[in-house]
């Protein structure tokens, strides 16, 4: 007992130090930096029209991207779990590619494929569509990977029961399958959103970083750092951080509430 308790104290201590060094201290430093000029400077920095445009663009496009992810990620997970086809294992492995690929490389690939002189005849470089495309690429695995295991464990007899009670395929999907998958979809969406808000590497090349048009929050922050305007960079970073945290927390609560009786 003593040994176990000692071990658990040690574990908690280690966790505390680890999290402090990696997460809490940097966040504290960021908050401190953003506050160096007082609240008035903080407000001034984040109400700068270019900053406002960048933040708005980031949040709106992230929202669009996670919505698409929720739908297509669920469909992909469904096909990978429920359908049999040759090459399924390869397709399954491909889903993780966006995680494995350095995002800047993803940016280069997307620019080569969907940029000027596109071999497939689609040129979206320096447009907002390019942002959506790049973000869809880097966030693809989140919903797929969170829905897949839940779908795998989902009791098929539940769907059969609904069917034998008179439900058609759409009713089964709407009233049985989706409610059971909802917590997993929501948590995948939350992670996608957090990732999309902070994404930099894949966007910096393909968006062209045109202020008020294709400049997202993270790229704006980068630009401010290059101009040695650290308070502005820190202030916008804080806004992005808070937005990501709020959405993450809200969706986690929603997911927990939904899964209260499901798991």
């Amino acid at each position: 007992m003593v040994g176990a308790r000692g071990g658990s104290v040690l574990g908690k201590g280690l966790l505390g130090i680890y999290l402090s060094v990696l997460v809490l201290l940097p966040v504290a430093a960021l908050l401190a930096k953003s506050g160096t000029g007082g609240t008035s400077q903080f407000w001034r920095e984040i109400s700068n029209p270019e900053a406002v445009a960048a933040i708005k663009l980031t949040l709106i496009i992230s929202a669009i991207v996670v919505l698409i992810n929720a739908i297509f990620g669920t469909i992909i997970a469904w096909v990978l779990v429920r359908d049999e086809f040759p090459g399924k294992r390869i397709v399954n492995a491909l889903i993780d590619l966006p995680f494995a690929l350095p995002t800047i490389v993803a940016g280069v690939v997307l620019l080569a494929l969907y940029g000027k002189g596109s071999p497939v005849g689609i040129d979206v470089a320096f447009t907002r569509a390019a942002i959506v495309l790049a973000l869809l690429f880097v966030t693809l695995p989140f919903v797929v990977r969170s829905v897949q295991p839940v779908l795998h464990e989902l009791d098929v007899s539940m769907e059969e029961a609904a069917e034998s009670l008179g439900a058609g395929p759409l009713t089964v999907l709407r009233r049985i399958v989706l409610p059971s998958l909802a917590p997993a979809i929501i948590s995948g969406v939350a992670l996608s959103f957090a990732r999309a808000v902070g994404e930099f590497g894949s966007l910096v090349l393909i968006t062209g970083n045109l202020p008020f048009k294709t400049e997202v929050g993270s790229v704006y922050v980068f630009g401010q750092i290059q101009n040695e305007n650290l308070p502005a960079a820190a202030a916008v970073s804080v806004v992005l951080l808070v937005a990501a945290l709020v959405v993450l927390a809200a969706l986690t609560l929603l997911s927990r509430w939904r899964s209260k009786h499901v798991l």
Binding site: M158, E160, A161, S164, L165, A167, S180
Partner: protein, 318 residues
């Protein structure tokens, strides 16, 4: 309504689950499909429900050909082995599901759900979620859910398989009484011969995708048509090609000339009955079943050598 399966076959890859099986269940009957695992009994039930498509053969319910009718239009109530509760819905919503899918008026749904929860003795638990119910309660909820839509037939797949012995006993008894009350044609699948004999009026014994014998519990026990049925329904001793029920083995106080001698290896007290494990002179082991009183009278104990008579050995043609 009567249920008929005619010449049904089903293969999964190279495995033949059902091989030209025909079954008729009379209107209002309570029938058991009994067999070991892999005998095809669950597959047959699922084919009748429309959850599986037969490779050959047809299914007729109430005189109506339903082989190509999807499960949702067959009017079949199905209770799954692990109950398949809708975990994200309350007990009330689970039971109401079939009716709400049919877009019945709210008042009708409420009345029906209330009535059914009373029937399965779950009143007061309507707002609970499946995760808050015991196995026996889940089982009854699943039954209420299946009955809510007033199915033409009720199909139960290993309905008591996942329950502990005591709850299982109560539910068997209760299912029998329920059937007497509502009289819907019912088929249930089980691998437990005692359960089949206790609950069903008719038993279909299945093995390796075929039907071995159909009959009342008494028929099957007293006149099994082959060795499989004889050894599956009740305990049995095999002596060469002959089969003898343990309770037909007579242990005598005195040899009257027709007996052989046997050595008692073990005496097992099972309450009213006593099982005696014996070794015959040729080295074969058999068991005998005697009453407690009988065992006391003969003062049976380990190591004793007594005359034993084996009347009515049954031999099946190969």
């Amino acid at each position: 309504m009567a249920i008929e399966a005619r010449h049904v076959s089903k293969r999964f890859g190279t495995f033949t689950a059902l091989d030209d099986v025909s079954v008729t269940v009379d209107d209002g009957a309570l029938m058991a499909l009994l067999g070991p695992s892999g005998s095809g009994k669950s597959t047959l039930l699922r084919i009748i429900a429309g959850l599986e498509t037969p490779d050959e053969g047809e299914v007729v319910i109430g005189g109506e050909q339903v082989t190509d009718t999807p499960a949702r239009s067959r009017g079949v109530g199905f209770v799954f082995q692990h109950y398949a509760p809708f975990k994200h819905m309350t007990v009330h919503d689970n039971v109401a599901f079939g009716l709400s899918v049919r877009r019945r008026p709210k008042a009708e749904i409420e009345a029906r759900v209330k009535e059914l929860l009373g029937l399965v003795r779950l009143d007061g638990l309507a707002e609970r979620y499946p995760s808050q119910l015991s196995g026996g309660q889940l089982q009854r909820m699943a039954l209420a859910r299946a009955l809510a839509v007033q199915p033409k037939v009720l199909l139960l797949d290993e309905p008591f398989g996942a329950l502990d012995a005591q709850v299982r006993g109560e539910l068997r008894e209760w299912l029998r009484r329920l059937h007497e009350e509502i009289h819907v044609t019912t088929i249930f699948v089980t691998h437990d011969q005692e359960e089949a004999m206790e609950v069903a009026e008719q038993i279909v014994v299945m093995n390796k995708g075929r039907i071995e014998q159909t009959g009342t519990p008494r028929d099957l026990y007293e006149s099994p048509s082959n060795e499989f049925v004889m050894s599956f329904i009740g305990p049995v001793n095999r002596i060469g090609d002959a089969y003898v029920r343990p309770h037909d083995v007579e242990i005598l106080a005195h040899d009257d000339g027709s007996a052989t001698e046997a050595l008692i290896k073990r005496v097992v007290h099972l309450g009213f009955e006593v099982r005696v494990e014996l070794t015959l002179p040729d080295g074969r082991d058999i068991s005998a079943q005697v009453t407690r009183a009988n065992a006391a009278e003969l003062e049976l104990h380990e190591g004793q050598i007594l005359p034993v008579r084996l009347p009515r050995p049954r031999v099946f043609a190969a």
